[in-house]
């Protein structure tokens, strides 16, 4: 199945994430990763969802059926910046510390906690780079690991701002069209 990256802007209401995820579950769409948070616009939250599907246009249409979903964009083929973060806790005897510090430096990862026998490293980057880093440190013995979902943003001036999505104009269109249709 093909992997798609969808950027979804939604009204920031209680339960909206639940609605989206519940729709994915019941229609059998496979979520590989999901991240959600606030945006530049008050009242709009943004979800990046990585979904495995050969019928992505159905996924997009079903998302649009949710009343609180404002905009869905498939950015799979767009030039994007994609980021994930991983926190990795390694079991590190003092004699290996230098080696790990060097490795972290190569990957641009940050050492955020050091104790006598352990280290916590923060690794941020594209998904492949994060994978790669984790493969490299695995031989040292990973005690704990947590990865966030992927977030994505299209490069350049074009993009997915929520600001122009929350005006009221459309509603009058709907009411007008509905009454025209009822004539």
């Amino acid at each position: 199945m093909k992997t798609h990256i969808l950027v979804v802007l939604m009204q920031d209401h209680p339960g909206v994430l639940n609605r989206a995820v519940s729709m994915f579950r019941r229609r059998g769409y496979n979520i590989a990763s999901l991240a959600v948070g606030h945006t530049e616009t008050t009242g709009v939250s943004r979800m990046t969802v990585v979904v495995e599907s050969d019928h992505v246009e159905q996924v997009v249409k079903q998302l649009y059926r949710l009343v609180e979903v404002l905009k869905v964009s498939d950015v799979t083929n767009d030039p994007t910046v994609e980021r994930e973060m991983a926190l990795v806790k390694l079991h590190v005897p003092s004699q290996q510390r230098a080696e790990i510090v060097a490795l972290a430096e190569v990957f641009g990862a940050k050492i955020v906690d050091v104790s006598v026998t352990a280290m916590v490293i923060e690794m941020t980057g594209g998904p492949a780079k994060v994978d790669n880093f984790i493969d490299m440190v695995r031989p040292f013995g990973i005690k704990e690991m947590m990865r966030t979902g992927r977030i994505a943003m299209v490069r350049g001036a074009r993009g997915h701002s929520g600001a122009d999505l929350v005006d009221t104009g459309w509603q009058n269109d709907v009411a007008g069209a509905a009454s025209a249709a009822a004539q």
Binding site: N18, S22, R26, V67, L70, L165, A177, A178
Partner: protein, 573 residues
């Protein structure tokens, strides 16, 4: 105007302002403040007490489907609202505009497993178009306005509003003026001109066109436009289960119902067509049979107000997102080149002769009507008499349940007017008919509402008969097609499972006596020669009547497309 009102009063006023005049429900602790307030508004808001919330939900559906207006049902927190789940699911599958108003425990105890607390918004999330949990009196008026707007526009559907008891009890100076703000809700009504042109172009190149119309045509009140388009281009019209009545079946272009229990000629016409225009149908699997084999030679145009229906089950050549009526009007506005139209007419005329011949050969209806031997009472005999008597008197609506009797009704009764055939299609909910008919009868006191029901489904919701008496409703007549079986399941067992009649033989109470106990007139019919007198008596009686037709037990619905087979492969006996 500056007087304070309770949340419950505001709820009543908001409902009235948004066009509600009839509601079906049953009270309980959490919703009691609403019932308290309803008393003052009873001249404008009629409340009909049902005996089970499922009945209230189906009654709201019957009201909505027969009028196109919002149907309203009410339940109290916990079991009162879970009892609404089945009709909500039914309304979801058949795109029925419905508002479910639910009482909820007070916000202070919400989330603490309080007495009769159920997460009804969580439960109904996948089967509502939208739902709300309202915890503040300030939000009630707007939620009602928005809920009814969502339920009745675009592709209609059920919307649930769950309101905590303390929000209903709190008071404020009401403000009904807040404008609807739904930036993510933008149903498309007007079809794209470009696509409409492309669709017509494609059609004019075809030689074997068919049109298929579904629930979308019914809901958009687009029957006249369907007729105008079909007649202008002389295209045969196929009506799905929910399209029955949207195109008069005695019209020379009408081919009737397709699909699993549709007519052989309708299915053959689809399979042999080279162009199919589907307006407001969703290519349900009961219509398409095995989807990959459906209309193999046809280019397909699909008109639907819900973009997610297009391309979901069947690949299409020209998608048109829009309201059935407005799209048809745009199609009618087009003035294609005279030469193309003439050529098209020429080819299509030949095709029309061919499909009409198919129809004459395969429409079994006439054959059944002329059955000479009526000593054994076949279900078909009952339908023949019903057809005759209904046609003689006019003004009928029929509500069917789910099973064999439903398919026979679709095949054998006459459908001329929109919103006269009301049934549970997408969900196939047994127990739908009796309570839904209550809603239809309330909305249409001038019509005779016939319930055609199986002996099985009838026993799921027959308690609503007493509501008919309490509300002094007289225009309901019930025909039970009593075959002593869960007939449709038995048919599958007979045809595909070596007659293992597991869990299908059915003992029933004496329905005549049951009717009498409810204060109805009850009639039992045991042989074919009594059918006519019974139906005439039903019509002559000024009040609700139930007729128990004890028909032949093991009769099958034919024609039939076996599950997951092509609609080209029908069994006919």
């Amino acid at each position: 105007m500056s007087d304070k009102r309770t949340g419950a009063q505001i709820l009543c006023e908001a409902l009235i302002q948004n066009g509600v005049d009839t509601m079906f429900g049953l009270p309980g602790g959490a919703i009691m403040p609403f019932y308290h307030a309803m008393w003052e508004y009873r001249s404008e808001l009629r409340h009909i007490l049902c005996r089970h919330e499922q009945g209230a939900g189906h009654a709201a559906e019957g009201f909505a489907r027969s009028t196109g207006r919002i149907g309203v049902c009410i339940g109290t927190s916990g079991p009162g609202t879970t009892n609404l789940v089945t009709p909500i699911a039914d309304a979801w599958m058949d795109s029925t505009p419905m508002l479910a108003i639910c009482g909820q425990v007070s916000s202070a105890v919400l989330g603490k497993d309080a007495f009769q607390e159920t997460d009804i918004t969580g439960i109904t999330m996948p089967i509502t178009k939208h739902n709300y949990l309202i915890k503040r009196v300030e939000d009630i008026a707007y939620a009602v306005k928005e809920a009814i707007f969502i339920a009745t526009t675009g592709r209609p559907g059920p919307v649930l509003v769950d309101i905590t008891k303390d929000a209903l009890q709190a008071s404020m100076v009401p403000d009904y003026s807040k404008k609807i703000f739904l930036p993510g809700y933008r149903p498309t009504y007007q079809g794209s001109k470009k696509q409409i042109k492309a669709a017509l172009d494609l059609m004019l190149q075809s030689k074997k066109p068919v049109m298929m119309i579904g629930n979308g045509v019914m809901m958009a009140n687009a029957s006249d436009e369907v007729m105008a388009f079909a007649e202008r281009y002389q295209i045969p019209v196929i009506t799905t289960l929910h399209g029955l009545g949207a195109f008069p079946q005695d019209h020379p272009l009408s081919l009737g119902m397709p699909g699993m229990h549709g007519w052989v000629h309708a299915n053959r016409a689809i399979q042999e067509s080279d162009f199919l225009l589907n307006i407001g149908g969703r290519f349900d699997d009961r219509v398409t049979g095995k989807a990959s084999t459906f209309a193999p030679n046809a280019s397909i145009v699909h008109v639907d107000i819900d973009p997610s229906e297009i391309g979901k089950n069947i690949e299409v050549d020209v998608p048109i997102v829009g309201d059935a009526k407005l799209v048809l009007l745009s199609l009618l506005e087009e003035e294609p080149e005279e030469r193309k139209v003439t050529e098209f007419h020429h080819a299509a005329a030949e095709w029309l002769v061919y499909v009409r011949e198919l129809q004459a050969k395969h429409q079994h209806k006439q054959q059944y009507l002329n059955r000479p031997d009526t000593s054994v009472m076949m279900p078909h005999d009952v339908y023949a008499v019903l057809t005759k008597e209904m046609n003689e008197r006019g003004n009928y609506r029929v509500v069917t349940d789910v099973g064999q009797h439903q398919m026979w009704a679709a095949q054998l009764l006459d459908w001329y007017r929109p919103r006269t055939h009301i049934t549970s299609g997408g969900a196939g909910t047994m127990g739908f008919a009796m309570p839904a008919a209550l809603g239809v009868a309330v909305a249409h006191p001038e019509d005779t509402v016939w319930v055609v029901c199986g002996d099985g489904g009838f026993q799921m919701t027959n308690q609503e008969m007493i509501v008919v008496v309490q509300e002094n409703i007289k225009n309901i007549k019930i025909a039970i097609i009593n075959n002593g079986f869960l007939g449709m399941v038995r048919q599958w067992q007979e045809l595909f499972e070596g007659k293992r009649y597991s869990g299908t033989p059915l003992t029933s109470p004496n329905f005549q006596k049951l009717a009498e106990a409810y204060g109805w007139t009850g009639i039992t019919v045991e042989s074919g020669d009594q059918i006519e007198a019974a139906v005439q008596q039903a019509y002559a009686t000024d009040g609700p009547v139930l007729i128990d037709f004890r028909v032949e037990r093991e009769v099958n619905v034919f024609p039939m497309v076996p599950q997951n087979k092509s609609i080209g492969e029908m069994i006919t006996e």
